[in-house]
Amino acid sequence: METTFISPNLWPALPEMFLLGMACVILVADLFFSDKQRVFTHWLSLGTLAGTVLILGAQIDNPDIVTFSGMYVADGMAIVLKLVACATTAAVLVYSRDYLKSRQLFQGEFYVLILGALLGAMVMISGLNFVSLYLGLELLSLSSYGLVALRRDDGVASEAAMKYFVLGAIASGLLLYGMSILYGISGTLDVLELAAWASGAELSAGLLLALVFVIIGMAFKLGAVPFHMWIPDVYEGAPTAVTLFLGTVPKLAAFALFMRLLVEGLGAMHSAWQAIIVALALLSMFIGSVVAIAQTSLKRMLAYSTISHVGFLLMGILAGTAQGYQAAMFYTITYVIMAAAGFGMILLLARSGFEADKLDDFAGLNRRSPWFAAMMMFVMFGMAGVPPFVGFYAKFAVIWAALEAGFTWLAVAAVVLSVVSAFYYLRLVKIMYFDEPVDDAGELEVAADSRLVMSVNGLLILGLGIFPGGLMAVCISAIS
């Protein structure tokens, strides 16, 4: 232990520090903007994200630096996930601008809270100590509660926020409790020291208890069955712009949390936690695929679809091999890309006084705007796992991992459930392509920047599906 104070290496945490500083600047600056000038807040936030991405880009060459006495790491996985998180957040801001304007939600709070949540996610991704992980998680969660409650006069939104807050607080408490037991047994808060301890430790009842609490806490955050109940309500109740954010960036952070705690910290206990994850994965895939069929709200349908994707993602983690973790990372990133386009499309369709969150609101989209209909079709077939869209390789990779780990029955169950889930994705394609548009619905009017981002986002689903090798190589080098 160092006894004298040494100035820590700030370089690995520079993106977060920049983001935090700019968030504070935006918070203050926004006070001086009139409603007409609020668009500066928007551009300032996008500029902040661009700056963060630039700093992250500069870190790519020298990864794996641990700083703050082992509390913080900027390794390959962290940098890749953070880059995706920043890019996704930028897409969220672009998609949601017109939506927020038409709903009197175009306020500085939205931007500050989004940046705060992103900061929390980034801290979580880089945390290498229970304390930093938990701090990041809480920053992300508290910002998210605020975002969900943004529309404070709306009953549904308030209910969703309340539910989210109560369940989220319980989950955080469970996670913290599990962490404290772990600390009690192992005597360390540091993930790497925990790993060294775990490699020589016997599985005791206390350790098992701690594992259960930690996994439940994480499963809550990720939305795995049976800890998924908040997801559909929150997704539906929150303003769609917030749903878009909640459906994407926190998944990256939750994946990182799994990796840091379960894999890097307790990888030696793999045989102890594997069975729990198997159950979570199977239940999530099942409930997510089956219950989504009954939904009429697109946001709820995508919420259940998220749950089923979480099940697939966990299949990569439970394999307990580097290949499985790489597969899970690939799955998370591709899911985030698809979910961003999926929720983003709801935002583009929404008009003032019209949420476009019902499945039927997409009726005849192919006649109204064939290009956007095609993009949404890419999302649907991608999520269903049909080649040549990227979702297929994501499913392929995790199923391969499960087969390598000897879970043939789980792999077969997964592919059969993916056929079940294909039904509701097809249903949206059917609504867009086979049904006629309702009376006066004309071509979509979408701002040029949203149009561009959506096109890039949609074509990415196809392009990565035809050439998935690059992203796979990135995931392989990030986790090795």
Binding site: P370, V386, P387, F396, W400, A411, V419, P468
Partner: protein, 505 residues
Amino acid sequence: MFDNFPLLSLVIWLPIFGGIAVLLAGRMGDNAVRWLALAVSIIAFALSIPLYTGFDFTTAEMQFVEFAPWIEALNVNYHIGVDGIAVPLILLTTFMTVLVVIAGWEVIKDRTGQYFAAFLIMEGLMNGVFAALDGMLFYVFWEAMLIPMFLIIGIWGGPRRVYATIKFFLYTFLGSVLMLVAFIYMYMKMDGSFSILDMHALPLSMKEQILIFLAFFAAFAVKIPMWPVHTWLPDAHVEAPTGGSVILAAIMLKLGGYGFLRFSLPITPDAANVLDTFVVTLSLIAVVYIGLVAIVQQDMKKLVAYSSIAHMGFVTLGLFLPFMILANSGGMQGAVLGMEGGMVQMISHGFISGALFLCVGVMYDRVHSREISAYGGVANTMPVFASFMVLFAFANTGLPGTSGFVGEFMVILASFKANFWIAFLAALTLILGAAYTLWLVKRVIFGDAVNDNVAKLEDINKREFLVLALLAVAVLLFGLWPAPLIEVMDVTVQNLVEHVMQSKL
């Protein structure tokens, strides 16, 4: 001549990019779209002809091979090539697509660009399936193909199109994902390779073989389709637009047969040997039972659809007979005969069923009914059309001189070497096929004009004449002179039979 020229790739990708171009040209008006689509399909057909003329008939090796790394992280390669089984099927695909484009010329008025684009993209994907020598590449083409067909049935189909197309998609998707699990299993066994040719040589235990065989069977039996997983087909056929029915019957069903030849038989020969009775039984049920079902149909498209299932029963019969023939020491000749018979039947059925669906389409465009009872005496007002329809009907029953006869005759001949009763049941098709087809012709074509609709019918125009005439030439050509077809596949099939007879245990 074509040593370094990526001919096969062009046959795959030209229609796909042509389809995208047609899609983008959608705003330029329907006429531009039609001509562009026709040009693309004709160029694709022209490009596929050198695959036959430049094909070396004396070897079973893959030809026109192209190889390039594709996904290096997974050791997946862009590896394509064709043998004597794939070449006729690719030619069939490119030929039928030209006809489908012509057949849809004036008929499709809604979203014309998307219609032709879907068919062109599907043509490219199907060629890709026949040419792929890498399991992953094969799977990507195989699944991607479902998307345009899903849209074709769903957008331009009949009243129950949504039900039919979702059923079609989910049925085939379920079969395919099980095949994917089998692929991944073999990928692991081979230390990370998807090469189909390596899979052929991969030693597998009996238990593994049976599980892999069943996984493949789920994919191919649904596609071909075999009784009892055939129920998606009548729905899909009835609801699909004419062009969709033609492509479904002429090519998509053949993908199942191709799958048996390329995967099930060579990769799991011992499992195929053990389970051949099972497959032969299902085939005979298809031939006899589905033949009886076809007789009672009231809907012309449904009748042709059931007739397709019965005929595909002949294909699977031919493909799985060789084990029984060799067990009865019927000799290599008999085994090759059965398998070639199955192959010939596939190609011939492509022409005949496509032609029959086009005939039904011609009548449907005029009367807007597929019910048999809505017709009668069509020959009075449409004599030229009636002649074509009668020709194709006779071909469907397997009349000598038409291509339908060759394949059925070869399979029945082969089945005599296996077992008399199999041959007996298989030969029932000659009676059943004649019964449902000729009764259809009698009710629809002959007699007096039954109602005003029929009395007002106009005979086929030049465009329809062209399409049906081309098919009639094909049906008669391969009926009278099947040698070009049999010669191209002969060495490959012999090689396949020899391969299949060597146990992998």
